[in-house]
Symmetry: C2
Subunit: 297 residues, 2 copies
Amino acid sequence: MLTIDPAEIPVPKLHHYLLGAVGPRPICFASTVDVDGRRNLAPFSFFNVFSANPPIAVFSPARSGRTGETKDTFKNVSAVPEVVINLVNFAMAQQMSLASSPYAHGVDEFEKSGFTPIESECVRPARVKESPVQLECKVIEIKELGKNGGAGNLVICQIVKVHIQHNVLNNDGMIDQHKIDLIARMGGNWYCRANEASMFEIEKPITSIGVGLDQMPKDILSSEILTGNNLGQLGGVESLPDETSVNEYKLLELSDLFIDMESDQKGLEIALHKRAQELLHVNKLEEAWKTLLAFNN
Amino acid sequence: MLTIDPAEIPVPKLHHYLLGAVGPRPICFASTVDVDGRRNLAPFSFFNVFSANPPIAVFSPARSGRTGETKDTFKNVSAVPEVVINLVNFAMAQQMSLASSPYAHGVDEFEKSGFTPIESECVRPARVKESPVQLECKVIEIKELGKNGGAGNLVICQIVKVHIQHNVLNNDGMIDQHKIDLIARMGGNWYCRANEASMFEIEKPITSIGVGLDQMPKDILSSEILTGNNLGQLGGVESLPDETSVNEYKLLELSDLFIDMESDQKGLEIALHKRAQELLHVNKLEEAWKTLLAFNN
């Protein structure tokens, strides 16, 4: 274990560790205006949604680690407390990154990055037409976390209007997690794209209460085959199958295996755990449990 | 465009839209204790880092959308203002999800999920041994965003100690973005895994200032071949190649193409844009620019 006292390493190094540890981070592509109405557009990954009622998002245009200066976005929301938070999909990645160049104050990053400004309904800053979801927000508070280089500023935003492109909606009118094709920020120059290759599902236990790993037989917990993820899945069932159903399953589905491996109990156990693992991969929890419990039944 | 006034739809539906729009969200696997020292462990994806100096992370244990109740984690940090934020990798996914079951107050989710508690150095809550990065934090403020169902609570945490597993570090002692194998939360039951298949790099313009799309020739901007990402990349160069270097490149690298397609100017333009696109895919910006500019030279 590498253990670090934040007070004892240089701020830029700590910053790098935090950027590499906390991620992938969603991207707020923030559109703001100064008092003269001049547009600014810049991406921030110190960002998330934090509440649905009221609907609140927070992002942090931090002070430069090198100069301690605040960013145009910070100055703008301080003067005109409104922002459009545009979400960013893969098709927008390179132009969004271009908008993060340190252009001089007053340069319109919409023009530089080639995104199309469209008028908002409730706030002065423009929306990014190309963005799949655009959140019009009123800034309800700005909380400065420090005054030195690297200090964040919590820009607390109430979402007053939500715009969603039709082509990212599914048949139920909700946002399809594949169609929206979001990207997120990581450490270094890395981004993560949420696509077929990287997305996976876990059924969320909203009301059901899993038995937990503490209720599982020791020989299963200490399996050489089953991973932590396998055990976590197994722990999610509300109750273990009873002896009768295990015996029935053993007779119907596992008798060949038990006969073949009769003289090799260790091999039998491994074979059963491997089979249970395959069943878990296709989310057949009940059958996986019966397979595992058959060994000592 | 689907346009929604947050005040006019039910909170759970708005919540779903926000969960589907803002992502992938990093996961705070929060370890806390009550006044009697009883452990609690629960994941939250309304979470991010917001500042490096001071080092600040924020997460939100929101009130239940159904009951308006606060969570054990909220009660714990209100009573004992300390938390360990454990980051979550792919190997921890199923056990982490299990810990999000609605176990009764006083149930130790370390035991239920089978994670190993290890003592912290500066705070009372335990760390999760299996987590690749563990952040010991003092809660410096809790900001309630509302009192009704779905209301978030900003738990503002100062990071007082950082623990990083050696096996996620690269040779420079920094966190390797491939080795850490982070997962993040999306809408519905979806998660995103940051791995080889989903990660990509964009060189970040920290000091260089790209010419921008507003400085690009119209025929390139209106290309039928080049995508927004291609244009964004092209806009990142600090200056366009001069006529002499374009002519030289045209003579050396493109003369076959110009001769073959002499009688088909439209075809030639398309061929040049396709070749430029291939060059952009391997990050050869200078050559891509010369290829595009050769057409009108």
